[in-house]
Amino acid sequence: MTMWLDTTLVSLALTSVLLLGSSRLTRCIRIVAFQGVLLGVLTVAAHAHAITARVVILAAAIFALKALAFPWLLSRVLRGADVRREIQPLISYTASMLAGTVGLAVSFWLSARMPLPTPPLSLLVVPVALFTTLAGLFLIVSRRTALMQVLAYLVLENGIYTFGVGLVEGTPMLVELGVLLDVFVAVFVMGIAIFHINREFDHIDTEQLATLRDWAP
């Protein structure tokens, strides 16, 4: 089962790199949806020694939300907005992918310096989780469309979840489902906000959200 786990983790890291170099928003939504599928697989693979009802419910909930509900919701938002591509990102796609490779190296270096009290399921868990988290943070600050920022938030959340599923045993179901519910409502509320942004500004470029400041230029 370690093979399954490692394959999923490597795919997760690769999809994050792919996302860093993608500009078409439908493609970005698909990549994040695929990450949702990977997280569902990861949940099962991490608990392969004892697959209980709890694991199955959790994996199913993750799959339903991250691979089906979110992509559907965000595609709907995208259809409403007259935009197909990310607009002139603050950091170009090539530079972003380059930064991603550096980030991957940094994640491996960092994780080697964080000795775990108990041996992890796979040595890839910490570096991949860190890398995905960093990729999410990087995308949030470097992309301009509101939709892309929500996708980046999801990637960040995926990275954190990877950390949890790979390292932490016995998180209670109530907490896990509570976290999922929060993320669901967060994406839902953000989706509504994007709908309003599009109606108000005729665009979903967050650079236009710059009226509020302390000193008028």
Binding site: G178, V189, A193, L209
Partner: protein, 490 residues
């Protein structure tokens, strides 16, 4: 049972108001739910509630303090909201800053979100399971975001978007902190310690220290974003100034405390593990930075609601500083949290009255408040002196306690820096806000008094009275509770 009631009253009435068509009835439900919540909270002071879910939901002194302030402010805000919503019932408004027309969000949604917001904050104060605490803090963000976008124009939308995104990302980092804490608690050989506050405090000596420190950092950055500690405060002035005043009062007075409580919970674990000093140094640093940033932005700030928002950043800095110094200063910080909440909520409610009468957020446009709005004008002056820490108000006492603790510990550098920043902020606030009360009202006003409904002045007046009482005499029961809460942080 009372814990369950505290959570269910706002949740169920929140769901209920969605289906109420009649505006007056819906407002009545809001006030009744707030009053019921407040009376159950009051009852917890006499009859300690039984823990629920095997100790996951538990009301200790620290939680009770924050919960009581939250519930009280909500009651004041709910009463104020009745008059506010009645005023706001027009179909479309003229935006006073840019002259655009805009509508309001449906009142049912607004009321429901207010009640869900209360439910989420209640859950924050009673959660002893770290995962549940996280869920509750994120839920406060989600319930309050639609409240900021009540006036549907592009500025409030911008504020909502920044609030949602920045706070969600910050809180996501706190989730990583949760997992780090879980790693710290999974000692080799032996069962992992469950992530319940009391278990962690009891088994603190077995925690893995480097991971615990890393977890603390993530919690501090994550919940610190929500608390508005500089340099993570960027969303706060926008959200607090663009939200309707009644929401600003809750965001500043109640929500910031809840985020602070989240950080204090981790500090409790660190202190039990013998790592209190690590967190305290960080608290002092973030505290000073927040006060300094606030001082810079308060000086010359033209918008009086943003001024109040930056003042919140300042006071969050003071809270962090107080907890960072520890000992008597922790007591001062908790007392200050209570005082600040009451005063800031009251000021935002009064700011709402001024805004309604003058239709401007610019301090330069507002003149002669004491003539046009006599009651609000007097409250504004009182609140101004209170928030800047002048005697005889409660904030003077709590700020002085922190100063004295710093001097007693021989940290004169900290004391001097603290005093200088307080003085700069005092001057900045006074020059901008005192001028609003005097002088002749501008051209659009002929200076005749505007009628002030009781619902718009009584809630802030009651809060002002409490701050004054706390400055003159702290009831022994309250003092004992705050002392007990402060001991939890040692």
């Amino acid at each position: 049972m009372s814990l369950l009631a505290l959570l269910l009253v706002p949740t169920l009435s929140g769901i209920g108001v969605f289906f109420v068509k009649n505006d007056a009835l819906r407002r009545l439900v809001l006030v009744l739910a707030a009053a019921l919540h407040a009376s159950v909270v009051a009852a917890t002071w006499f009859f300690p509630p039984t823990p629920l879910l095997g100790g996951w939901l538990l009301l200790d002194r620290l939680g009770q303090l924050v919960l009581s302030v939250t519930s009280l402010l909500f009651l004041a805000a709910a009463s104020y909201a009745v008059g506010y919503l009645r005023r706001e019932r027009r179909a479309a408004h003229q935006d006073f800053e840019e002259g655009l027309l805009f509508t309001n969000a449906p009142e049912a949604t607004f009321t429901a979100c207010l009640l869900f917001f209360l439910a989420a904050m209640t859950l924050v104060t009673v959660s002893h399971r770290f995962g549940l605490l996280w869920v509750a803090i994120e839920a406060t963000t989600l319930a309050s975001a639609p409240l900021i976008y009540f006036h549907r124009h592009h500025r409030s939308l911008e504020a909502t978007w920044k609030y949602l995104l920045i706070c969600s990302v910050g809180i996501a980092l706190a989730l990583l902190g949760n997992f780090f804490l879980a790693v710290a608690a999974s000692a080799p050989g032996g069962a992992p310690i469950p992530l319940v506050l009391d278990d962690l405090v009891r088994g603190a000596s077995h925690l893995n220290v480097p991971w615990l420190k890393a977890a603390f950092l993530l919690f501090l950055v994550g919940y610190g974003t929500k608390m508005g500690l500089a340099p993570l405060h960027t969303w706060l002035p926008d959200a607090h100034s663009e939200a309707p005043s009644v929401v600003s009062a809750l965001l500043s007075g109640a929500l910031l405390n809840c985020a602070f409580l989240g950080i204090l919970r981790v500090q409790q674990v660190c202190a039990a593990a013998g790592q209190a000093a690590f967190g305290q140094e960080l608290f002092v640093g973030f505290g000073f930075l927040s006060m300094a940033v606030a001082a810079v932005f308060i000086a010359g700030q033209p918008d009086f609601k943003r001024l109040l928002a930056y003042s919140s950043v300042e006071h969050m800095g003071i809270l962090a500083l107080g907890v960072g110094l520890g000992g008597a200063a922790s007591f001062g910080a908790l007392l200050h949290a209570v005082n600040h909440s009451l005063t800031k909520a009251m000021l935002f409610l009064v700011a709402g009255n001024i805004l309604a009468a003058y239709q401007s957020k610019s301090a330069a446009d507002v003149r002669g408040v004491v003539h046009v709005l006599p009651a609000s004008g007097v409250l504004w002056i009182a609140g101004l002196f209170a928030i800047t820490g002048s005697p005889p108000f409660g904030l003077f006492l709590s700020e002085f306690t922190i100063l004295k603790a710093a001097l007693d510990q021989g940290r004169s550098g900290v004391a001097i820096g603290y005093l200088v920043l307080l003085a700069v902020i005092f001057v900045g606030m006074m020059t901008a806000m005192l001028r609003m009360t005097q002088g002749t009202p501008g051209t659009q006003r002929n200076g005749a008094p505007v009628p002030e409904p009781v619902l718009a002045t009584l809630p802030p007046a009651a809060l002002a009275a409490l701050v004054l009482i706390l400055g003159l005499y702290i009831p022994p029961a309250v003092r004992g509770a705050i002392e007990e809460a402060a001991r939890l942080l040692e």
